[in-house]
Amino acid sequence: MSNPPTALGSALIEGQPSLRQITRDVSRPLDSRPSKSWFACLAVTGSALAVGTGMVAYQIATGIGVWGLNSTVGWAFDITNFVFWIGIGHAGTLISAILLLFRQKWRTSINRSAEAMTIFAVLCAAIFPLIHMGRPWLAYFVLPYPNLRGPLWVNFRSPLLWDVFAINTYLIISLVFWYVGMVPDLATLRDRASNKIKKFAYGLLSLGWDGSARTWVRYEKLSLVLAALSTPLVLSVHSIVSMDFATSVIPGWHTTIFPPYFVAGAIYSGFGMVMTLLILARSAMRLQKYITIRHLDYMAKVALLTGSMVAFAYAMEFFIAWYSGNPYEQSVFFENRATGPYAWAFWTMVICNAAVPQTLWFRKIRRNVAALFVISILINVGMWFERFVIIVTSLHRSFLPSSWTMYYPTVIEVGTLIGSFGLFFTCFLLFIRVLPSIAMWEIRELVGTRRPDSGEDG
């Protein structure tokens, strides 16, 4: 009897663990008391979060005049962070939805934590437009609800409003997908819960899951439907984010290449973050058996592909700027970006996003955990600078030379960015303590009940 998924499964998961062993390995962090290093990490991320909370409270109380913005550069740090975090989320959806549609079995070990990462990243991202409103308590104005002002509807033609819909839909659908994917595992945790609190919480969340074959059939259909919906959704989200820029008339923003360029960049940066997190998590949680070198290798290949697409987009932007003969476009690319006062940011971006990932052509580097970790950090740095370069260098020298100026972030803005990292990593640290960070039922399906010693081909 041939069973290809099992054959591949045994190669993807090391050491042929039994079904019981899988539960034990994955839920070990949930059973034991947190280690000292976990508390140390939480102290660091919690402090960062506290700094960020203080900064956000201050800037909301005082007004966004505390930022380094001026009348020329009206968008800078805040929008950079927003686009950065939204992009980070995209890898999670790629892994959970697109790779599911493509039947890529290696996604199994990493999809749960990547999806969690998506949700935390979107939460981080959502903070920035909210603060940017200046009066976040009026945020509900962006929703088209019947009101006493006419009713005056929101501007459905504005890409900023498209963003509101895209990001909220993305957050909701990602949450549903993540939670639905977790229900069978929550039932496993419910059934092995040792104390009352756990029994109650997992019992509540597992919805009375009983593993019925009829439920499984519908469950798999639901997963497929959600994957099929999330795939165009994730592509639309960063396309719409890019339209915040592309539908304007600012040289450097007004380009048709933006939607695919942003989507590729988003997936690239997201894979950078997934690698950073999983390289740390797999060794901290002793899950090397499940998140193997092979998984890292595959992720590195996706980073190489998307990184190359980003590099191509950089080159194409320059080519079109030159080829269009448009002096404003040429000025943005050749004078403001490559050689202007922000050239250091531009070249940081080019080195991190176009040059560094090219090292991933080498198998030795893809399979070297330390090298991958460094590369993944550089990817994150590079992609943050990409957004900074796109936003600030296109604005700081506007059409009138008399309004040319420089933008520098203030302590408040940097503190807010640090705070968003704090929020992201705090959420992730809590997640790995209370929820199964690997989809146990999917690993079970991959490994199956066939043991190598049962005499059949595994």
């Binding site: 009713p151 496993t188 059934d191 019992g203 899951w209 059939v217 519908r218 639901l222 439907v225 199956g448």
Partner: protein, 173 residues
């Protein structure tokens, strides 16, 4: 209502699928099978119908599409038209992104909701027929005992012969 069940426990999916197939061939109905992960070939062995869940996605997705496009059209053309440089009020293309998002949102949420309704899952519910290990490494075949028929006993013998680890009877109120 008192219902008596025969519960057979398996530890290998291949034996389970084969046992279910034989039980059905013998003419006995399989009440349900509980597994720790989706076992491929099981729904065919049980003779389950294809789920119609995706139709819910289609219907509600189309509803979302119509609602979003209709509402934006109503707001921009009838309720509060804004003259922007003499451009037509009905700028359908600009309504596409929001229409797309609402289509996805309604399609996804309705499918998840329909799934919960159809599979009778709800926060805080306890599973009724629940055997130890069924969410971990145990596969359970459940047969509902029919009054005045020996079909269930025949099926029980089949389950026994096809490698069940344990068979027991259980009454559920």
């Amino acid at each position: 209502m008192r219902r008596e069940f025969v519960l057979a426990t398996f530890s290998e999916e291949e034996k389970l699928v084969e046992a279910v197939r034989q039980v059905r061939q013998s003419g006995c109905k399989v009440y349900d099978v509980f597994t720790p992960y989706p076992v491929h070939g099981l729904s065919e062995a049980m003779g389950l119908r294809q789920t119609r869940l995706a139709y819910v996605t289609l219907v509600f997705g189309l509803l979302g599409l119509a609602l979003a496009m209709g509402f934006q059209f109503y707001a921009a053309v009838f309720d509060w038209p804004v003259d922007v440089g003499g451009k037509p009020a009905n700028s359908t293309l600009a309504f596409v992104p929001i229409t797309f998002e609402i289509t996805i949102l309604l399609g996804g949420l309705s499918t998840a909701g329909a799934f919960l309704l159809r599979t009778r899952l709800f926060p805080g519910l306890r599973p009724r027929l629940h055997e130890e290990g069924v969410t971990e490494d145990t596969f359970v075949v459940a047969l509902l005992r029919q009054e005045g028929s020996n079909e269930t006993d025949q099926a029980r013998q089949i389950l026994q012969d096809s490698g069940a680890r344990q068979i027991r009877e259980r009454t559920v109120q």
